[in-house]
Symmetry: C2
Subunit: 456 residues, 2 copies
Amino acid sequence: MPANIEVQAEPGALVHDVIERAGLSLVLPCGGQGRCGRCLVVVKEGRVRRRSVVRLTPQDIEQGYALACQTLLEGDATIYVPPQEMSLVRPESAASAGKVAPLAITCDHARAPWVEKYHLRIEPPSLADNTADWERLQREAARQYGLRGLTTTPAIMSKLASVLREANWDVTLVVERGTWIEPDAMPRLIDIRPGDTTAQTIGLAVDIGTTSNVVYMADLQQGTLIDHASAYNGQIVCGEDIISRIIYAKRPGGLEHLQKLVIDTINGLIDHMLDRQGLRAEDIYLVTVAGNTTMIHLFLGLDPQYIRLEPYIPTVNHPVPVRAGDLGLHVHPEATVDCLPGVGAYVGGDITAGVLRSEMSEQEAITLFIDVGTNGELVLGNSEWLISCACSAGPAFEGAGVTSGMRATQGAIEEVWINRETAEPTYRTIGNAPPQGICGSGMISLLGEMFITGVI
Amino acid sequence: MPANIEVQAEPGALVHDVIERAGLSLVLPCGGQGRCGRCLVVVKEGRVRRRSVVRLTPQDIEQGYALACQTLLEGDATIYVPPQEMSLVRPESAASAGKVAPLAITCDHARAPWVEKYHLRIEPPSLADNTADWERLQREAARQYGLRGLTTTPAIMSKLASVLREANWDVTLVVERGTWIEPDAMPRLIDIRPGDTTAQTIGLAVDIGTTSNVVYMADLQQGTLIDHASAYNGQIVCGEDIISRIIYAKRPGGLEHLQKLVIDTINGLIDHMLDRQGLRAEDIYLVTVAGNTTMIHLFLGLDPQYIRLEPYIPTVNHPVPVRAGDLGLHVHPEATVDCLPGVGAYVGGDITAGVLRSEMSEQEAITLFIDVGTNGELVLGNSEWLISCACSAGPAFEGAGVTSGMRATQGAIEEVWINRETAEPTYRTIGNAPPQGICGSGMISLLGEMFITGVI
């Protein structure tokens, strides 16, 4: 291994597991199926057993090449692990707070946010009026703001007596009104803070892409954007496309690991913004999430297997709201986490979000909406009808399924020309660097030239 | 210590804490205030510091007596701990299941139980009908039983795909309708079980007394009692009366300890019944609790301090329902735990329960309701008006505040006669055993005789 790391392992251990145990990150673009050949290592010494060699030639094997996801140790071994594309897991730089533009919000959610704050001054109890703390707070919330039937959580109930007294009966109530699932639910007190903190009420919008995750921080009452940050989805090491991750989720502990990776990615972005804005996790009271159906299943810890198997059935298209504390998100534990509704196994809430935001569903003109990501989705229609379809996009042409395929980064062949007479190929790489592999646009260019010149 | 137990302790450690660490249980009837003198130990060797000696004579101190709750170690010491009244913490025997009479339930709760079961057969998905699992279940629940707007929990969502398939789409839904706090709430799916389990729907009624805890197991649909069991409240070791426990709750970790003790007591009773009935904790879907205001605060982990201090303010009189999983009760984690409403700091939900059960609030005749427990409460009234008051009862006369006071058990002086001429007293003890102390009825008898004979 690099840096001469030594690890103890039992015979029969999977080489990839041992490498992870050594603290190294060896990506599995195909989710550990032995299909993409990207987790190639060299066995310098010692005996191993190769479960699958479909990606290896007899010469490769003779030279010691092995796939880490398919190779078992049979005794002591010395293994060379090539350096990984570390850029894949480095967060992208986020826009600085000052430059962020106000959001032009047009949806109902902004016009009537689920979470609102109320500043409340309460008359302290006396022998003449010895109503209990909670009933007193309910009474004043109803009298001063018409908030009737206020309910609350065990955590608030536990700290109520001390917060009211320490704040000298001058507090801010953070109240969640009904959500979409129960628009007429009783208002729910999710936090109580000393003094008047009504100036700002913060919520997050999260976009969970198969490749990239983006978090926006917004003021729910002003309708303005406060900050945003993005990073690659930490699940990439377990597979680059959706199918690879669904297969990875079948391993023992695989689903839990994938869920932890995406939660960790999002928490990293939240922590970054909290730090930059001088805020605390408890200041965030609402989280809205968009993502494709598989990403939402992995985010919520739902088994995604049946999305992949005919007849392609998700557990849920429109998940019920979840408490942030149950997911381990770095926001107020009582904050509601709401995932936008999807349409089916391969048309998720990210598409719903795009359709809503573009307002194509409110126009008379027929519009085509295209979302090209790791998967690509199309929506066609207007205010009267909408149809949608989806197919693999990015990694389908790139790293995962193509020998020498790679992401469109430094050294990727991005365009190819074939001489009509000599059939001699020339090419251009990204950054004019020495060629490392071929990316999606290079593949399309190559296929086009081969067709034009009659090679195929 | 008995059995020659040795314990390591730092200088300055409280003797009572060290004794607990040794695995012995030394009761603190007054909650560790040094007021009742019941945690007397003998310092055989070594140096200690006595914080309070109001209960000790100079002779006592010379003989090595010390109060474990008021004495600090100053170095190595040998301490004699007298045997405790272990009967206090032994569960009472419960009535055998066969002999339990059916409940004559008359309240609305029984007529429309919050939790109901529905047997559901669902058409499996196909390419022609690829609705997601959850939306399919919702659709069928609405179609077959008119259950509209069904919502659920993250735990159910996680296991939905596998339960539906393993059960071959033939399941029982356990649904909680709205509770008192939101009677019109959306129905909430709290469990899904393979096959048809609608024959029985189990709930518990729990009576948390300061001294005794009782748990009843009932079939919510039949309105019949299945089993019951009782035991002393495990909190007794931290104080016998309410005030002592409120004082104990002020110690660091005291409130958490008291909560754990009562939850452990109730869980012990539940486990006992589950075992006897061949049931599992997950079979119990609803818990209703009655208790005085302080007991309910300690059960829910709410700070009871302000109940004791003028103007005597509880955190809450009618607690909002809590998830059993949040309390650690041995029932289904999604079961709702509902505490009956109290009236004030010293008139709790146990009295409300008694008034409702006796139906005195529905009668024209004026009725007096008396509840004599560790505290005593009276309610007077009829269908038009009700008034209530409360005072200390049991331990006020017994162990806690009286030198030589004790509970009405073996050896307690329960009646006293004073000779009118010689003023010579005679007495009777419970069980005709040698006198150990004096109990409440003995105190009243003694005071009466002293008054009649002119001693006072």
